[in-house]
């Protein structure tokens, strides 16, 4: 499952958080795109960024 497919770096350059339109941080370890502004982590599945807020993981306050 964790044999992560790399995301096209050109794609990472133009992706932003769909809710806040702010920059994302790519977490290679968890294969997630993190929006600190929205407090959400968008999953990347087999190299496909899933930029849907309802699919995102809520970041804990801690």
């Amino acid at each position: 499952m964790n044999a992560s497919v790399p995301v096209d770096p050109r794609l990472l350059e133009i992706l932003v958080c769909p809710l806040t339109k702010t920059a994302l941080v790519y977490d290679r370890e968890r294969d997630e795109l993190i929006s600190t502004a929205a407090g959400l982590a968008y999953p990347i599945r087999d190299g496909i960024p899933i930029m849907l807020p309802e699919e995102a993981r809520k970041l804990d306050e801690a």
Binding site: L11, I14, L15, K21, I48, L52, P53
Partner: protein
């Protein structure tokens, strides 16, 4: 049923969860309808051949596997999106909602939305976001089913249901009017907006084939206030039997609105400011103005 019609949420005509589900399911059946989707896409992309400029990076919104190859054949790099993660994976693209796009401003010089914006709740809002991801002087092309699409089916279903139950539930999506197309583009901030009409009539040997194709394309009913009860077994046979025929076949009309708009740029032609004329209109009409 004690379904109240909500007022605060009235803008949500469509159930986006259902739209996504229908598209997820369509992943395995799209091939059977790709000729129709590709026909519309070709008509839409014909406009590129009339434009005297090159495009390098395009956003393909919900192109269901037919738009991206046509763009790549023109030497354009493509990023495909779909609301359905399954279709996004098929396209090696990004799962994204047209109602909240995940792209930075000025990322593309071309945006193509082929038959993919008619299940969007806030169409003006989606158009504004699509305009913002365009670079200045970037081109937006969209085909949308307009009012008149599937009119035969809508009429037959409404009549049959009224005869059976005395009422009728929305079973065919409400489509925008072609005449509103250019105004929608203008409202979203596009320059030089154009909305052309185009009509495709599909002829079906059997009425159920039309419904099968709609489902195969992921175009099942996603109107939020749709009647979720299983309809009376008599409804569809009665409605389909009442469809008009043409040489023994059942016509299904696609009334298409082809939208073209440009992201504003200083280089584009613009009207002069009001009051900047140097010749009186009265004199010009009289024909004695200075040349």
């Amino acid at each position: 049923m004690s379904d109240k019609i909500p007022t605060s949420d009235a803008i949500h005509v469509f159930d986006r969860r259902a739209v996504r589900l229908h598209r997820d399911r369509a992943a395995t059946t799209l091939a059977s309808v790709s000729d129709v989707l590709a026909d519309v896409a070709e008509r839409l992309l014909d406009r590129l051949d009339d434009v005297m400029r090159d495009f390098s990076v395009a956003l393909d919104v919900g192109g269901r596997g037919v738009v991206a190859p046509l763009l790549r054949a023109r030497g354009i790099q493509v990023v495909s999106t779909d609301l359905s993660p399954v279709l996004a994976a098929q396209a090696q693209g990004v799962a994204a909602d047209e109602e909240c796009l995940p792209f930075a401003d000025a990322s593309f010089d071309l945006v193509v939305a082929n038959l993919s914006l008619h299940w969007v709740n806030d169409l003006p809002g989606a158009l504004i976001q699509l305009r913002r991801v365009l670079k200045p002087d970037g081109l937006f092309l969209a085909s949308l089913p307009a009012l008149g699409t599937l009119a035969e089916l809508r009429a037959a279903l409404t009549l049959a249901e009224a005869n059976l139950t005395g009422g009728a539930a929305p079973r065919v999506s409400p489509f925008p009017d072609l005449r509103d197309g250019a105004a929608l583009l203008q409202r979203a901030g596009f320059a030089l907006p154009v909305a052309d009409g185009d009509t495709i009539t599909l002829l079906y040997a059997a009425p159920f084939a039309l419904l099968r194709d709609l489902r195969a394309a992921g175009e099942g009913n996603a109107v939020r206030l749709r009647d979720r009860r299983i309809p009376s077994a008599a409804l569809f046979p009665a409605a389909l039997a009442a469809l008009p025929t043409q040489d023994g076949r059942i016509p299904a009309t696609l009334r298409l609105a082809m939208l073209t708009g440009w992201a504003p740029a200083a280089s584009q032609p613009k009207p002069l400011p009001r009051g900047s004329a140097k010749i009186s209109l009265v004199d010009a009409l009289r024909g004695d103005a200075d040349p």
